[in-house]
């Protein structure tokens, strides 16, 4: 079984409102999956459910066949899921290097972290990420002083040093300039294959650039799934989300 992530009948009920309703999908190991859907479709809630921020009412989430539905956030993270938030979520008062050092520790326990040393393996991971995200010039700056794009890349980099097998990206290009968006697309493409990636995104140019398979959500349910051409031609998708103009 090569599924990285299996979501089966996932439902969350907020006092009668089902933000995610009996949602089922499987994502292959190394796949890059884009999730589309109009506002309120339940995309972010789906990520909340997978990463443990919100507890589901029913259904289950499996990571490489291991059930993770009922675990806490940090346990889910240790199981191998990394999450990037829509608003850059980094440690603003720490330096860029310290941000990466925090994310690189393979050791969750307080007592085992009462040491200075950083393993060779962790060091190497950090160096790879610095190169990938092009942050070598700002390693000593406070993360809060970075540009918006750099913050997003740093957060993305932290998920890689964290060694996340499955990465959830919530609108990674929100608020970015065109150049920044292109660079983000480059970074994500480089991660393809090494990590399994789930992206929520609205920017269609960006989606076309990176997408392999697309899942469309509507009112918490799965509406369609397939490659970009199939989705663009799908009648239900057009009706629900895209209007008569098609994807633009």
């Amino acid at each position: 079984m090569s599924y990285a992530l299996t979501v089966d009948g996932l439902t969350v009920d907020f006092n009668g409102f089902k933000a995610v309703d009996n949602f089922t999908t499987t994502i292959d190991t190394g796949e890059l999956r884009v999730i589309l859907g109009p506002n309120g479709a339940g995309k972010t809630t789906l990520m909340d459910l997978i990463s443990g921020k919100t507890t589901s009412t029913s259904g289950e989430v499996k990571l490489f066949g291991r059930e993770i539905t009922r675990l806490n956030e940090h346990q889910i993270a240790r199981a191998g899921i990394g999450r990037k938030f829509q608003i850059p979520s980094i440690f603003r008062d720490l330096s860029v290097m310290q941000n990466l050092e925090v994310s690189a520790s393979g050791e969750p326990s307080v007592f085992k972290n009462l040491k200075y040393s950083i393993t060779q393996e962790e060091k190497q991971k950090i160096e790879e990420v610095i190169e990938l995200t092009d942050l070598s010039d700002v390693l000593k700056s406070s993360a809060g002083d970075l540009s918006h794009g750099q913050m997003q890349w740093l957060e993305l980099g932290m998920l890689i040093t964290q060694d996340a097998k499955v990465i959830l990206l919530d609108e990674p290009t929100a608020g970015m300039t065109k150049q920044e968006t292109m660079k983000t697309a480059d970074i994500i493409k480089k991660l393809k294959g090494k990590h399994t990636i789930l992206v929520v995104e609205h920017d269609m140019a960006f989606v076309r650039d990176i997408a392999e398979r697309i899942t469309v959500m509507h009112l918490g349910k799965l509406l369609a799934e397939g490659d970009i051409d199939t989705i663009e031609k799908d009648e239900a998708v057009r009706e629900a989300y895209l209007g008569s103009g098609g994807i633009h």
């Binding site: 979520s89 440690f91 603003r92 720490l94 330096s95 310290q98 050092e101 520790s105 326990s109």
Partner: protein, 376 residues
């Protein structure tokens, strides 16, 4: 600490070493033992500033009830010293009995620690000085662990932590005052014996006592500094900046918060014990709100994100307070002055004295870089 590791870190160490040298050499400069005793109390307050900096500056947890742990530590150890005082041995029993228990006892009660007043049996193990010393650390740790677990597992944060800790210190203060027969209520525990360690009796007005306090302070400062510079310390700071991010990186944030909350409480408990050695009393005033808030002011003025800054802030403010309160006008106005200083620091120097020093070091380094690059 982030900004410039080279010069900033050197400056940091220079400050630590200077501080240690000054503190350890002070007795060589004076034979005024009363003055030395006063300084040793200020050093104890320095530890309280450090405990606040650890929880507030590094964990982002503002504890307005640090006096609780200080008070518990002080009372636990004072109980042992009370039983060692000569008056406790003169109450008509061959075993020590605190004088105030005799005053509070019902007529006809046996003059024995087990049953002179209800609950006095709690004092029995404190006949051992070692037991008192251990409890002075262990009780704050246990209380902090229970309180911290409740607060942090429920993800209470920000001002609510401040309110809970504030309410807690008041509650315990009331309990202590209310348990008059076994705590001597408002009057606290006075007329204590001396700490006896390695065959030395620590008279508070002796050089040995000053050194006991000073060396303990220096060691704790080093230990705390080591603690925050480990990866656990770094992860703790990350939870202060963005607890959710730390969670999604796989850290059990509450565990880190509880651990450092407990360490901070242990330091405060230890400080309470040292204070009893130097000041020879324990009283419910240790659990006054104003005292706990003073600690926060010391840490804020010194710089809450710097451990040594907070220590220096505490020593400095207390030294100023001690000298100005000898003048009649300032004595009344002191609370006002300290209030104004606090507002001034919060508004203009949010990182306190330590922040100013770091900015200065950074400025020096920039200047240095500039001049070398020009030359090059």
């Amino acid at each position: 600490m982030v900004e410039n590791r080279s010069l900033g870190q050197k400056l940091d160490w220079a400050v630590y070493i200077t501080f240690f040298v000054v503190v350890l050499c002070l007795p060589l400069l004076t034979d005024d033992v009363f003055w030395l005793n006063r300084i040793s109390k200020f050093l104890v307050f320095g530890l309280l500033g450090l405990a606040i900096a650890l929880s507030w500056g590094y964990a982002g947890v503002l504890n307005l009830g640090q006096g609780l742990f200080f008070g518990l530590g002080a009372y636990m150890f004072a109980m042992s010293l009370k039983l060692k005082s000569t008056t406790s041995l003169q109450q008509g029993s061959d075993k020590p009995v605190p004088d105030f228990m005799v005053w509070n006892a019902e007529p006809g009660s046996p003059t024995e620690l087990c049953c002179i007043v209800p609950g006095s049996w709690l004092w029995l193990p404190f006949q051992s000085q070692t037991f008192g010393m251990i409890m002075a650390i262990v009780l704050p740790i246990v209380v902090a662990f229970v309180v911290g677990s409740a607060i942090f597992r429920l993800r209470v944060s920000g001002v609510y932590v401040a309110i809970i800790t504030l309410a807690l210190v008041l509650l315990v203060r009331l309990l202590i005052i209310d348990a008059q027969p076994i705590t001597n209520g408002f009057n606290g525990l006075t007329d204590l014996g001396w700490l006896e360690l390695f065959g030395i009796e620590f008279d508070p007005y002796m050089y040995e006592t000053y050194y006991l306090v000073a060396v303990s302070c220096c060691l704790i400062m080093l230990a705390a500094r080591w603690l925050v510079s480990t990866r656990a310390g770094l992860i703790l700071q990350s939870t202060r900046d963005d607890a959710n991010r730390s969670r999604y990186l796989g850290y059990d944030v509450a565990a880190y918060q509880i651990f450092f909350f407990v360490v901070s409480a242990a330091i405060a408990g230890f400080a309470g014990m040292l204070y009893v050695v130097a000041a020879e009393f324990a009283s419910p005033t240790f659990l006054d709100i104003s005292f706990s808030i003073s600690m926060v002011v010391w840490a804020a003025v010194g710089g809450r994100s710097s451990l040594i800054g907070a220590v220096i802030g505490a020593v400095l403010i207390n030294s100023i307070e001690a000298s100005v309160s000898e003048t009649e006008i300032f004595k009344e106005a002191w609370k006002l002055i300290i209030g104004v200083i606090f507002i001034f620091v919060v508004l203009l120097l949010p990182r306190g004295i330590a922040g100013v020093a770091r900015d200065f070091a950074r400025w020096l380094e920039d200047k240095h870089l500039l001049s070398t690059s020009k030359r090059g």
